[in-house]
């Protein structure tokens, strides 16, 4: 795998802000109407917010009945007006939030489906390279960060800018001169806020890094507690812990100190601006209502700037999330169908390897010049030490990987020319480590393909593979709950379920990577019996760890370090007196018979 692809997988390939914006826009295009609607409502909202101080201004002037000469009726209108504006305004706020929420969730939903689907399409070797956790983060959280960018961050930036503009306009309307003086304060808050947010962003980053370092350390210490205690390193680990703990505290204090200067400073400027309003009220001959309105407007003048500085940090975070997400979406699966790939409905089951070479990394051959030929309906077994390449042969047949040299043919067709889906449909794989999903027995056998199979179908298959007995004993039978990874079932039971899963899919070729785990004798005999039955389904390839499974195989292939050493039936191989014979003698020598 080359560097370009690796950097895409891990999401480190850089993208410009405009590329990211453009691509993200593609996802929100369908919601653009609602987005614009939300912006329109936002403008109305901000404007209404600006009118409230005006109402208060009128009220203050009116309530000075001596000068205004008004009556209580005016007060009544103003009061009711205030209530009406508040209610209408809040109604719009509700509307706007819900429109954005709905659109945002819709975008997230669609994006998640896309990303999940994309991950499912990726090749096994690509998935092996990525930690599961990082894929999960991409599907679950980065998608929501991305939609947040439009529904939250951008909207709040817009709202804050509009608010500043709105407040400024109102101030100019009331007193342009006083507004100019307020501008001095605004500029100071502006400059200070941006420097501060930059500084604090750094501190926060350090804090996050320290926190994750702390958690990693703690996780490691707790997991390795046995070693620490056995090697009597408690004191040293305590010192290391104290150091990390102190780092967190000192970084926190850094942030606390920064905020302890910044926040009071901004509020200091706010109160100073009020003092300035009072001071200039007489020089500029403002009315009492003007002063009250200014007082109210000022409370909305500085906070949008603080929020704006915050939003900038959010923007950078959204940027990284999007970058990683798009990088992942740009990964093309390694193993792809050829454009003219054939859809094979049913295989006869003839399998041939012609001089196959395979390596995960360059020249480090796992398989070398492997050739063999298995006829339809035959059972073939692979024998050899760990690392001899047995399991690799099986993954090449189902195209989890592609061989570097040589050909693999099924029914005389190169597997590369067969559609991957039809290939895998025809081949039933029983993997060494049986993976069960949380759900029910049934959902694990059908793998959520509930429409295609009736309970009866499923039960029949379970009987066929001898799984019916234990399933019937379970509370709920086919609907019995299976917890994560099937930990409430024994290894043998899990194996039987994996058989059932395979047989239900009606394959013509069966692949079995036999598990090495210890299984109680009763289940063991059930498994053996069911394996014998399955041999009749079609061609069967077995990676064997138990010799009893393979004695009756039509072809036994002995591998060593990726090369085929011997091949033949049990009897033939015994006559050759080679490796297989040695193995057999060790097991079946009468002196060691058990």
């Amino acid at each position: 795998m080359d560097e370009e692809k690796m950097s895409k997988l891990f999401g480190s390939k850089k993208m410009s802000l405009w590329v990211i914006f453009g691509r993200t826009f593609g996802y929100i295009k369908s919601e653009i109407f609602f987005f614009i609607l939300a912006i329109i409502i936002l403008v109305i909202n901000v404007s209404l917010n600006m009118i409230l101080p005006l109402v208060m201004k009128e009220f203050t002037n009116t309530v000075d009945f001596a000068k205004s000469g008004a009556t209580f009726q005016t007060i009544l209108y103003l009061g009711l007006g205030y209530a009406a504006i508040t209610i209408v305004n809040q109604g719009f706020t509700y509307l706007q939030s819900m429109i954005l929420q709905r659109s945002g969730q819709k975008i997230i939903y669609r994006l998640r489906n896309d990303v999940f689907n994309h991950v499912e399409q990726m090749s096994v070797n690509q998935l092996n390279l990525m930690p599961v956790g990082s894929l999960v983060t991409r599907v679950a959280w980065y998608t929501s960060t991305m939609s947040d960018l439009f529904t939250n961050t951008l909207i709040s930036i817009l709202r804050n800018i509009l608010t500043i503009v709105g407040v400024s306009v109102m101030m100019v309307v009331i007193s342009p001169k006083l507004f100019l003086i307020m501008m001095i304060f605004l500029v100071i808050v502006f400059v200070v806020s941006f420097f501060f947010s930059r500084y604090v962003k750094n501190v926060f980053r350090q804090e996050r890094a320290a926190n994750s370092d702390f958690t990693t350390f703690l996780n490691e210490s707790l997991s390795g507690e046995k070693i620490i205690q056995l090697f009597r390193q408690e004191k040293r680990k305590e010192m290391e812990f104290d150091e990390k703990n102190e780092t967190i505290r000192s970084l926190r204090m850094k942030a606390i100190r920064a905020f302890a200067v910044y926040r009071p400073f901004v509020s200091f400027l706010y109160y100073l601006s009020i003092a300035a309003t009072f001071f200039f009220a007489f020089r500029f001959e403002l009315g009492a209502g003007d002063v009250v309105a200014f007082y109210l407007l000022l409370s909305n003048f500085f906070s949008p700037i603080e929020a704006l500085a915050d939003s900038l940090n959010n923007l950078t975070r959204a940027h990284t999330s999007c970058e990683r997400l798009y990088n992942l979406l740009d990964v093309k699966p390694d193993v792809l169908d050829k454009p003219d790939a054939i859809d094979v409905k049913e295989f006869k089951g003839e399998i041939e390897f012609r001089n196959v070479y395979f390596a995960y990394e360059k020249e480090n051959w796992i398989l070398q010049d492997v050739s063999f030929h298995i006829l339809p309906g035959q059972t073939a077994a692979f024998v050899g030490a760990t690392g001899a390449g047995k399991t690799t042969i099986l993954s090449l047949i189902v195209r989890n990987y592609e061989p570097q040299k040589g050909q693999i043919l099924i029914d005389g067709i190169n597997v590369k020319d067969i559609k991957i889906t039809s290939l895998r449909r025809g081949i039933g794989q029983m993997l060494q480590d049986v993976f069960l999903f949380s759900g029910t027995i049934r959902s694990n056998i059908t793998l959520h393909d509930d429409d295609s199979y009736s309970d009866n179908d499923v039960m029949q298959v379970c009987e066929y593979v001898n799984a019916d007995k234990f399933i019937n004993k379970l509370d709920g039978g086919l609907n019995a709950t299976i917890i994560e990874r099937g930990e409430n079932l024994s290894t043998g039971q899990r194996q039987l379920l994996s058989f059932a899963r395979t047989v239900l899919a009606k394959p013509q070729i069966l692949i079995l990577d036999e598990a090495t785990a210890n299984i109680d004798t009763e289940t063991e005999s059930l498994i053996q019996d069911s394996l014998n039955k399955m041999k009749n389904i079609g061609t069967m390839l077995i990676v064997a760890h138990r010799l009893s499974t393979i004695q009756h195989a039509d072809k036994i292939i002995v591998l060593q370090q990726g090369k085929v050493m011997e091949m033949g039936t049990h009897q033939e191989l015994l006559k050759q007196k080679g490796m297989y014979h040695k193995l057999y003698m060790l097991q079946f020598d009468p002196k060691h018979k058990f």
Partner: protein
């Protein structure tokens, strides 16, 4: 504020910080009420019949500037005092918790997942410290600010005061209701998020199965369902939270309207010289009252939130307390026997063992003696008790039935330090720390020289591998040693134990991922470099142990035989069976 066994000492330690912070908060709360007063005064001055004197105006402006100044200083002080107290409590609490973790037994660690314990260290400690810092601030603020403002309100106009205060009580009730309601809704939305997360996690982990059975489409459907539910729940949550916000804003708007209407009416009547309730009130005072009202909003809402914040912190502290209170079962005996320079003779005396959560014994009546300096193999089928046997020797679990003696001393009577000095252990899981190789090999003593570390590496036959790495002994091994192969990890962990130079070395299935040649070299090294010292090798392959002095064959927790390789071939059926089966695994045997 929250009290408890493990938290009170911090109050004692940092009382001055709390005192400074709380006093400043109260001063500031008082000073802050001067602002609405000033606003009323300026309104009066402007609307007054005679033009105000320059000095009057300057006094007022000066007052506001002073208030601004005092508030800025005060805010700096309470932030520093109370928040740093909280940060120190966090530090102290975590320190206590980590010290506790160093004394936890394997039993405890098995019963409590690392993830859970991590949560206590992070989320729960944070909840407590949040309450200590911000909780204190909110509480003091809410109480004093509202008391001050209410007194002032009543002073200005008691009827208007009641008109403001009565609905504010509604806001408090409202706030606490919202908190309760919202935290339920929040839990539901978190659960939907967790479900989604779990689904993705599980399906990506099991994706090989999905691909093998070509069920990608069905999985996508199943995923869509979960994602759809997530979407619905999140929208519901958003609707609730927006609705509550909007309703609280509307309530506040209506209270403002009430002030405007009633206040306006009172001023109107005062203007007509028919003051209601006999109180004359002017426009300036009315404006002051609206100012007071704005000051009341935040503390009232906060008051509602404090309750749920406190109950969260209380639950968290409960978890932390029960963790810190958890009994320690591997403890120093009352009169510990100190054993220096152990020779390495081990005696098992009718040892039976059952894991705490299990009734059946995994070891049954084990009695045997290993002579000092012997090299011993332990074999048997999976789950026959091999690891349990060596684990109880290391007292990772307490010996309850029967006895284990080292040099004639019961390990339950021995000081833990002596016992652990006498033993070097290579565990089955080969746990390595994310550190450089040098520090992993020299884990038992940071003073080892590079020379000694090299010697350990060459004993474990991992020196050549390490020399092949770009940074050699400075190579970082990644979390749990992921960057090393299984065999390399095993050998690094053998080197780590070897360097301890202990009279007894235990290797629990430590060469299973090592190839046959290397295994032979390691066995040769054991013979040469650990001559005269006891070495116990648990193995799954017969080849590993066949050359050792004697071999223990375990069968379902019982000793089937304890003899030399040659004799075992004759007398032990399990051993014979293993010899044959393992020969089939490949060219070994």
């Amino acid at each position: 504020m929250l009290f408890g066994k493990y938290i009170n000492k911090f109050y004692k330690k940092y009382w001055y910080l709390f005192l400074i912070g709380i006093v400043t908060l109260i001063v500031i709360d008082y000073v802050q009420t001067l602002i609405p007063e000033s606003l009323g005064q300026i309104v009066d001055m402007i609307q007054g019949s005679t033009a105000p004197k320059e000095k009057e105006v300057m006094d007022l402006v000066f007052k506001v500037v002073m208030v601004a100044f005092i508030m800025a200083i005060g805010r700096v002080i309470w932030r520093l005092a109370l928040l740093s107290a909280a940060a120190r409590i966090q530090l102290g609490l975590r320190q206590d918790m980590f010290r506790k973790s160093q004394r936890l037994s394997q039993t405890y660690l098995h019963n409590n997942s690392v993830g859970n314990i991590l949560n206590w260290f992070t989320t729960d400690v944070e909840a407590v410290d949040d309450l200590m810092g911000w909780g204190t601030i909110m509480l003091v603020d809410a109480i004093f600010m509202s008391v001050l403002v209410i007194i002032k309100l009543i002073n200005v106009h008691w009827v208007l005061g009641i008109i403001v205060i009565a609905p504010m009580i509604l806001v408090v009730v409202w706030g606490s209701l919202v908190e309760k309601f919202m935290s339920n809704a929040w839990d539901r939305s978190q659960k939907a998020n967790d479900d989604l997360y779990d689904f993705i996690q599980e399906n990506i982990t099991g994706i090989r199965v999905i691909k093998a059975f070509v069920k990608e489409v069905q999985q996508l459907h199943a995923f869509s369902k979960v994602a759809w539910k997530n979407r619905e729940v999140n929208i519901k949550f958003a609707r609730l939270s927006v609705l509550f916000d909007v309703l609280i804003e509307i309530t506040l708007g209506i209270i403002t309207t009430l002030i405007l209407l009633f206040g306006g009416y009172f001023v109107w009547m005062s203007f007509k010289n028919e003051p209601l309730f006999g109180i004359k009130i002017d426009s300036g005072q009315l404006i002051t009252i609206t100012g007071y009202f704005t000051m009341l909003i935040w503390p009232m809402i906060a008051l509602g939130q404090i309750f749920s914040m406190r109950s969260r912190a209380k639950t968290s502290l409960g978890r932390i307390t029960s963790y810190l209170n958890s009994p320690e079962d591997i403890v120093e005996p009352e009169n510990p026997v100190v054993l220096d320079n152990a020779k390495g003779e081990i005696t098992f005396n009718d040892l039976s063992f059952a894991y705490p959560e299990n009734d059946t014994d995994c070891l049954k009546h084990i009695s045997l003696t290993i002579k000092a300096g012997e090299s011993i193999g332990v074999v048997g089928k999976l789950g026959c008790g091999k690891t349990t046997l060596v684990n109880s020797l290391a007292r990772l679990y307490n010996v309850e039935k029967g006895k284990i003696l080292i040099d004639g001393v019961d390990i339950m009577d021995m000081s833990l330090v002596s016992l652990r000095k006498a033993l070097a252990y290579v565990p089955q899981d080969n746990f390595l720390f994310s550190d450089i190789i040098k520090n992993n090999i020299g884990f038992g003593n940071m003073d080892f020289t590079l020379e000694e570390i090299r010697e350990g590496a060459s004993f474990a036959c991992v020196a050549d591998d390490i020399e092949g790495f770009e940074d050699r002994y400075e190579t970082k091994v990644g979390e749990r040693g992921v960057t090393l192969s299984g065999g390399q990890k095993q050998r690094v962990s053998i080197a780590r134990a070897f360097l301890m130079n202990a009279p007894i070395m235990i290797m629990d299935d430590s060469v299973s991922a090592v190839d046959i040649k290397t295994e032979e070299s390691i066995l040769k090294n054991i013979k040469e470099k650990r001559a005269g010292k006891t070495t116990i090798l648990v193995a799954s392959r017969v080849s590993t142990v066949s050359s050792l002095d004697r071999i223990i064959v375990l069968n379902e927790g019982e000793i089937e035989a304890f003899d030399t390789h040659e004799n075992l071939l004759k007398i032990s059926p399990t051993y014979q069976k293993m010899v044959m089966l393992q020969a089939l695994e490949g060219e070994r045997g």
